[in-house]
């Protein structure tokens, strides 16, 4: 069953005088992986950050248009941004663990959302770490500093931290760019498992990765969404000449 989880309508983003995105329209299906590709500075990360309204952290940013999450508009004056970000989690390019223990990192989200009961927190931490395929490696040292984990483990810890908040959508901004090949392939396996329960939107500069893991792909260029379709179609039969040039490696 297909279900439209997210829908963007004429999204435009401005940084002061610079326009970073032009009328982006995209339908994102539930429990699918949607990949956003394109050369550096094409606006793919900016688009990703419109979905959890993270662009507004930067002074001088303005967003026009609308995004619907479960048919509800997220760009509304009285929209509760905290609630939105609870439903839409995000994994960043550089794994950034907080300077706390492994346990505290995962418990951070549930705690700020008001869960105090220790048993329940421990349950959530265990479930999230298991879902992020990290539990077996670190279950005996939950109280040691998260910063001592390897890069790949840190990235999975960050994912566990996101899962602990029980989001519906997970945004990933080049989550593998700082990882070695083995960690990357583990992360890709994990994404394959996560999509059973979550809607995933992933920005990647790696086209093979997009082709391997995604169901839908959007190609961005200079702030425009040039082409958006099923991944197999886009890579085999691109409709737009620019998409073809990009995926065949003529630029980018």
């Amino acid at each position: 069953m297909k279900y439209l989880k997210l829908k963007s309508e004429n999204i435009k983003v401005f940084y002061k005088d610079f326009q970073a995105l032009y009328d982006v329209n995209m339908d994102i299906q539930e429990k699918r992986v949607t990949a956003l590709i394109g050369p550096s500075g094409c606006g793919k990360s900016t688009f990703l950050r419109t979905i959890n309204r993270l662009n507004e952290l930067i002074e001088g940013t303005r967003t026009e248009g609308q995004i619907y999450l479960d048919e509800e508009p997220i760009y509304e004056k009285d929209r509760d941004v905290v609630g939105l970000r609870r439903k839409v989690g995000m994994v960043f390019q550089k794994p950034s663990v907080f300077p706390m223990s492994i346990y505290e990192n995962v418990a951070y989200g549930p705690r700020i959302h008001g869960i105090k009961d220790r048993n329940r927190l421990s349950e959530i931490v265990e479930r999230s770490l298991k879902a992020a395929n990290l539990w077996n490696e670190i279950s005996d040292r939950l109280n040691s500093p998260a910063a001592r984990l390897s890069g790949g483990q840190q990235q999975r810890l960050v994912i566990a931290r996101v899962l602990a908040v029980e989001p519906e959508v997970i945004l990933m901004d080049e989550p593998a760019s700082a990882l070695d090949p083995i960690s990357t392939s583990r992360l890709e396996d994990l994404i394959g498992e996560l999509k059973k329960n979550y809607t995933i939107v992933i920005v990647t500069h790696n086209m093979q990765q997009a082709a391997r893991i995604s169901d839908y792909t959007g190609f961005f260029l200079n702030g425009h969404l040039v082409e958006f379709s099923r991944t197999d179609e886009l890579f085999v039969n691109p409709r737009d000449k620019r998409t073809e040039d990009y995926i065949t490696g003529r630029f980018g």
Partner: protein, 280 residues
Amino acid sequence: MLTNNTREKLIKAFLWLSGLIIVAILFIIIAYIAIKGVSAINLDFILEAPRRAGKEGGIWTTIVSTVYLTLVSLLIAVPIGVGSAIHLEEYALRRSWFANLVNLTAETLAGIPSIVFGLFGFVFFVIFLQMGWSIISGSLTMAIMILPTITRTAQEAILAVPAEYRENSLALGASKWQTISRVVLPSAVPGIITGIILSIGRAVGETAALILTAGSSLGMPGGLLDPARTMSVHLYILAMEGISMDRAFGTAFLIIVLIVIINYLANLSLCRMSQVSRQI
């Protein structure tokens, strides 16, 4: 002509010597004070109240006054200093007129000599607000003096916290204040401690401003409105009025010891509070 190699060696020797001079100066001062002071120090000197203006007895009341006054100053200055640092780094728009004004004020405050603060404290707290020569007048004056240091160091510490921490926390649905209080401030604690330690040094070492605001009574201060004589003030009076050089050196030595102890405790307690110790 010198060969490159010799020149390199000469420069190295000079740089090494510079380092040695710094160490030597510190060592000589501490050794000199220790040698001159230790003879005056015994348990009675530390634990007895002064008699006959300090000629006899110990310096216990001045030790208590010093700790009391320093703690009250910090209790006033740390929340305000850290608060304004949080405002400047996390809430104020960059280069807003208010942020600029606060920055400029902090810089100007830092450059004013302590005796000027003392005069202000005397006129404002002691006389106008009728607090008299007291712990509270002295602490309020000290708090104003150490505020710029605390604000500045806290600002730098907050600025040094990686932006990713904030992004990650906000993306998890944390509010701005939750992000600041649970992620940013705990990471900034070591830097904030640095400012507090610098401030303690300044408060314990201050003389002129405190004579004008806390007075120089040798009695044991019972409350915030009692006058007090800190160790540095005591040292100054012992030396200037020719009461006893031996006891002046003894006091000086104990000031150094006290600063070391307070710094150590500040480090310990704040590290505990922020749980930084078990994370790094």
